[in-house]
Amino acid sequence: MTPPRAAVSTTATRPEHRFKGRLFDWKLLLGVVGVAGLLMLSLTTGVYDVFGAGDGGQMFAITRIPRTIALVLAGAAMAMSGLVMQLLTQNRFVEPTTTGTTEWAGLGLLTVMIIFPTASIIGRMTGAVIAAFIGTMVFFLFLRRVSLRSSLIVPIVGIMLGAVVGSISTFIALQTDTLQNLGVWFAGSFTSVLRGQYELLWIVALIAVAVFLVADRLTVAGLGEDVATNVGLNYNRIMLLGTGLIAVATGVVTVVVGNLPFLGLIVPNIVSMFRGDDLRSNLPWVCLLGIAIVTVCDLIARTIIMPFEVPVSVILGIVGAVVFIFLLLRQRRRA
């Protein structure tokens, strides 16, 4: 194919900056340092005097380090799940807690607990992941059926779906006298994260790698089925893959930590505002911001009624709702 004549000469004079933005730059480094600072703060915050007491070192290893690692993994997982979900639905207002995915994961967890009361944490996780996958597929299929594109109807449908599934869980829990447990599971909290109980969260790190590898395909899918098919991508396959990634991340976090509302919603939106939507170079930012927000909220949750704690989901809910409303108003203005 002959190149257009005019173009060739201009290309030669173009500076290098035309090429895609680099993944690592000083701003990202700054972000990493900032988050590292927050994590240090998290390590040193708590009622127990880990530096003074005799068994302080042990306590530090049993609770503080696991808790901080859990913050990192769960924060990154939920922010990433939200991002992938927003791409797949082409809607800025969805994330695992506004599409029912978390509720489905909870239902799966509950079902496993009732049928196999002695199930290991891996068994519980499997139940949650499978249910989360089914639930997310139900939501996506519903969206394709009704082809709703209105940005606000979609999350409303998701929240309704989640409410229905949540009610089923509550009903089952009432019947089986496990309502109290249910409440404790669902309220996302890092209080009970101890050595030996959180390690499953490392699966999330694998998910992050997987998302990074298929980042471009997910971005293309975010342009819709027609564009994706046009460039030769199997749209249904990438939808399944994306749903699988979301389900695993959400399922694992739900089992280990619980419900972390709004994180997946606000983080990708804020990152997109500043950096656009190039998924691959955004991913580190999305993870960092997710970690930062969940860490700050956890620090607040830990200190606000010291020596007691409130579930981090309470703080996240308040912060998230405010940001959500801000985003809504902002979108209205732009539209």
Binding site: M1, T2, L87, R149, A215, G222, N230, V231, G232
Partner: protein
Amino acid sequence: MITLTDVAKSYNSEVSIGPVNLQLPAGGITALVGPNGAGKSTLLTMIGRLLGVDRGAIEVGGLDVSTTKSKDLAKIVSILRQENHYVTRLTVRQLVGFGRFPYSKGRLTLLDEEIISRYIDFLDLGGLEDRYLDQLSGGQRQRAYVAMVLCQETDYVLLDEPLNNLDMRHSVQMMQHLHQAARELGRTIIIVLHDINFACHYADRICAVKDGQIAEFGTPEEIMSDDLLSRVFETPVQCINGPRGRLACFY
């Protein structure tokens, strides 16, 4: 060459296509014209394998669109639909870069970057390449979409009403760009147009579609006749000689 053999599709109660037999030769611009609901877009969408056929076969450049792997077809034919609304915030350059997806699967090479720059310049988007799509005017955005499908470097380019929502100046510029792409880059461009005068002036062939059938197919000179156009569009049309060729008057 694009070959449609006995292609039929019932799209919905209003639009049913076929059976259509049609051969669109390679090279130049072919315009699909016709009244609303005639099935122009459906035909184009089927050729671009975004919509399956109920019956019959479609070949593009010798490849059957329903049996050839989608990723191989993506190097032969590209299609741009009419409605393009992306929630994803991409810059012009990132969007055009997705045209290279069939070749590089997203890992853009230096060669890809050069090709992207070439098509950005080809559509005069050089100053806009780092802008986000939502910061562009309708005409600029439409140019970015067209740059993306041209960047795919397919022999066949299908465009569904690319002049939609463009004002006079941008419509003319767009058609000039496409004309240039057909001439200088040797692309075969199939385009759905509403304005018969645009079709007459820029297309090498016009295919009039009506009620899901090919009503007429020929050169602009053959198509631009009072009877033919009046019949196809079901409204009185008079063709006159304008300063730069035939003009259809129907106002």
